[in-house]
């Protein structure tokens, strides 16, 4: 005959299970505690992100980084040796715009130094990673039929990006003198963009927005709107893919994940 009733089995079983659970939750010898999660075993200490601040200096360092992106891109383009024949004039424009960007970078870094910040003397790493390197890889693809034209397309997009960036930081900069300095350069970038737009779509017909009737797509315009746009910039470059299309990139002005914070350095 069984010595325990079914009720006894359930009662003692419940007490035993509770004991096991409490033992599991308790401290164990040799096990490091985590501040974040109570768990059995060794947990790495949680590492928080550095507390960064979007200051005038950070915004100017970001602007300087874009100037170096432009300088590097023009250098790379000139190094490709594609500015020959019909594109010889574009090569001269590229040299002039590169030199302008060098002057802009020096001017911006001078402001940063005056404000007590550290100058930024290389291209924005994220802009390089997600825009410029992929674009240059497409442009230099062996199957690309017109790398010279694509270089001008990319340069036009980068000048638009720079113009938009300077315009965009006006609302973020706290010092009105810095706003003026930024827009002094911003208007230069806008002029660069207009010159390259005319190289891509010359003459009076290329000044205002229009549609290419053959493709149904908008043509490049020197003056794209009544107000300076702050919109994403599409760039189509590289060889024709198997499906008859070409690769497109969408450029956007630097955001919180691509600003040149104080802790970002040139590797």
């Amino acid at each position: 005959m069984n010595r325990f009733s079914r009720r006894d089995v359930l009662r003692f079983g419940g007490v035993g299970a509770a004991g096991v659970l409490l033992a599991a939750c308790g401290k164990q010898a040799g096990v490091e505690e985590s501040k974040n999660v109570k768990a059995v075993g060794v947990m790495p200490e949680a590492e928080g992100l550095p507390n960064v601040e979007v200051t005038d200096i950070v915004l100017l360092r970001t602007a300087a980084s874009l100037e170096y992106n432009a300088i590097d891109t023009y250098e790379a383009a000139l190094g490709l040796g594609v500015f020959t024949g019909a594109f010889a004039a574009a090569g001269e424009i590229a040299k002039r715009l590169r030199d302008d960007h060098r002057g802009h970078a020096d001017a911006i870094n001078g402001l940063i130094t005056t404000l007590g910040g550290k100058p930024f003397t290389c291209g924005n790493p994220r802009v390089n990673e997600i825009y410029i390197s992929p674009a240059l890889a497409l442009i230099t693809d062996a199957d690309n039929e017109n790398p010279a034209l694509d270089v001008v397309v990319l340069a036009h997009a980068l000048e638009n990006l720079a113009a938009q960036t300077y315009q965009g930081v006006v609302t973020l900069l706290s010092d009105k003198a810095l706003r003026k300095a930024a827009m002094g350069i911003g208007q230069d970038e806008a002029r660069h963009a207009a010159v390259l737009a005319q190289a891509l779509n010359p003459g009076v017909a290329g000044v205002l927005p229009s549609i290419d009737e053959a493709t149904g797509k908008p043509r490049v315009a020197a003056v794209p709107a009544a107000f300076g746009p702050l919109t994403p910039i599409p760039v189509t470059v590289g060889p024709v893919n198997a499906d008859g299309t070409r690769s497109s990139l969408i450029l956007e002005t630097p955001s919180l994940n691509s600003l040149a914070y104080d802790n970002v350095t040139c590797a």
Binding site: N51, R179, Q187, A190, R191, Q198
Partner: protein, 165 residues
């Protein structure tokens, strides 16, 4: 993460500066209307001139919207008269060059305003107008055959705020 302070509205002094810009933009609008009426220009050229006219009108209206009751919504005769004598006749390049000078003057004026406005909201609007007028100047410079240096460098003096408004 610490973000910059939010957008700040125009102060009373800002609104007076923006009202000045409002009247300057309407002067430019009227100068482009005069240019577009000249028989020397082709249909394509007139389309561009009307487009620039519309841009200046839109800029003036946007500034008026920010200024409120201080906006005169009439052109600055001082600005208009300073350029009107060059916006006439049959020499297309001379007219386009005059309009390029106008764009450069307005761009310099707007740059000066960006450095004077306390509120970032007004500064942002003026910056967005400035970038377009720099482009318009560059486009006109290229059309009349100016050198790359002329196209890229703006040496125009800004208008004095308060003058002619």
């Amino acid at each position: 993460m610490t973000l910059p302070s939010t957008v700040t509205p125009p102060t009373k002094a800002d609104r007076e500066l923006l009202a000045f810009a409002n009247s300057a933009e309407f002067a430019a609008r009227d100068l482009y209307a005069a240019a577009a009426a000249l028989p020397a220009f082709s249909d394509d050229e007139k389309t561009m001139l009307v487009g620039f006219h519309d841009h200046h009108r839109a800029a003036g209206q946007a500034l008026a919207g920010m200024v409120g009751s201080l906006a005169t919504n009439v052109r600055s005769d001082e600005v208009y008269n300073a350029f009107r004598g060059r916006v006439m006749g049959s020499d297309k390049n001379a007219v386009l060059d005059a309009l390029r000078d106008l764009e450069n003057t307005l761009a310099s004026t707007h740059l000066s305003l960006v450095g004077a406005l306390e509120g970032s909201e007004g500064a942002a609007l003026v910056a967005s107008i400035l970038n377009i007028q720099a482009r318009q100047s560059a486009a006109l410079g290229l059309l009349v055959g100016r050198s790359l240096d002329d196209v890229l460098v703006n040496a125009a003096e800004p208008l004095a705020p308060g003058a002619g408004s």
